[in-house]
């Protein structure tokens, strides 16, 4: 119960990114794991040949998220960051929450229709959530960098969430 409350509190912090250190101080990886698994489950079965590609989809998303988060963390540490390895993983994982919400919305919209209007709606939603994710994670991570190198740390984060957003946007269920 205590763990659940801590995870819930961090979710709230991501949705309203203020400069609080709660996310950083008590890091945990439960939230990122839950988000990653739910995103990977929702992205499954969305390729042209679904009978062949059902398996790799889950592993693909899982590996992308964790591998990408590890690379960004290593990069920010090599650039002289003061944040620790697992703290950075924690922040990046929790900031996937807006994109998971976007995935949910996209699936619901695709249930309703799959024409041009739904594409525009999905595009707007995904872009908004992508911006939110990037802003939330930079609010937490950029502070730990020397001030003139913030752009160098923000760019990989931007790329990481861009790839995830792209996977969400081009998802078409069978």
């Amino acid at each position: 119960m205590r763990d659940l409350k801590a995870v819930g509190k961090k979710f709230v912090h991501v949705m309203y990114p203020k400069k609080s250190s709660a996310l950083l101080r008590d890091w945990d990886l439960w939230g990122p794991l839950v988000l990653c698994v739910s995103l990977a489950l929702m992205l499954q079965g969305g390729s042209a040949d679904s009978k062949e590609d059902g398996g790799p989809q889950f592993a693909e998303v899982f590996v992308i998220i964790w591998f990408g988060a590890v690379v960004i963390t290593l990069n920010s540490k090599l650039l002289g960051g003061t944040i620790s390895f697992f703290q950075s993983l924690c922040v990046l994982g929790y900031c996937v929450l807006p994109l998971t919400v976007a995935m949910l919305v996209c699936r619901l919209v695709l249930l309703a229709s799959s024409g041009t209007v739904s594409f525009i709606v999905r595009l707007v939603v995904v872009m908004a959530m992508f911006g939110w994710s990037t802003l939330a994670s930079t609010a937490f991570l950029a502070d730990s960098q020397p001030p003139n190198r913030k752009a160098l740390v923000v760019y990989p984060i931007f790329l990481f969430y861009f790839v995830i957003s792209w996977m969400i946007l081009t998802f078409t269920p069978q």
């Binding site: 801590a6 890091w27 439960w30 062949e52 693909e60 799959s114």
Partner: protein, 344 residues
Amino acid sequence: MMSGPGGAAAGAGGGGARNGAGAEWGGFEDNMQGGGSAVIDMENMDDTSGSSFEDMGEMHQRMKEEDVDAEAAAADEEDGEFLGMKGFKGQLGRQVADQMWQAGKRQASKAFSLYANIDILRPYFDVEPIQVRNRLLESMIPMKMINFPQKIAGELYGPLMLVFTLVAILLHGMKTSDTIIREGTLMGTAIGTCFGYWLGVSSFIYFLAYLCNAQITMVQMLSLLGYGLFGHCITLFVTYNIHFHSLFYIFWLVIGGLSTLRMVAVLVSRTVGHTQRLILCGTLAALHMLFLLYLHFAYHKVVEGILDTLEGPNVPPFQRVARDIPVVASAVLNITAKAIALTL
């Protein structure tokens, strides 16, 4: 005391959830201090195994102190039968705990040495954003001065980011052109291609440079080739979105050519002898230009329907259809195209 950074450094990810609330785990400490006997309680061992190295350290210390006493006692007891099950379990428990402590210590030192390896890479990431921007722009400008060795910055941040950007652009191109990968995944193919090119061709050219007596180090070669991918990124980004063949060929020659010329000029300035220069630069130019050609054509598929229906002198350039166009729209397109072809 359990603390976050200490737990992180030792790699005990499983205990991460408990790190932030040390005060609420007072019950744990009571268990440890309550047992002052030589027999390790196996039930407690199961609860705490691997969760905190500091506690294992405490246990180990206590075991060491108790060993001194127990050895004196064990020397008298030749026959273990008189001790019964309790004595036997005590020795076994101690051995198991000792082994676990050793294994844990080995893991922790391995994790520490991995961390130290990251520090080896640190000087290659020491850049400012303005430097990265300048180097990106310079990678498209060939320098004419080939009599003095040109300076190459041995930096890995820019090339690494460019490779990842190329991966993202490749993914975008593959998705919008309906590429179906049978063996493996889209992401795996994109990452494998880009990293394979960067690392593999760098190593190969470095090997050739070693044979041809060129003055260049591995990091410099990685850096040079990485920045050369900037031209590839621009070309692919533009031509994956605007689908004209002639536009691609122009970009291939101009932008690909410029970045190749820059790399060639740098290598020529660092090599002596005509044959060596020719071998080195010819290989690099060929591989670089061919890679761009390969990236464009291998991950695009011309839609068959439009090829079939369009004939005659007024043929528009080949079009590629994005995945999201509904079936109705493409049928209308085909019928219109057929009508136009019939009237010509």
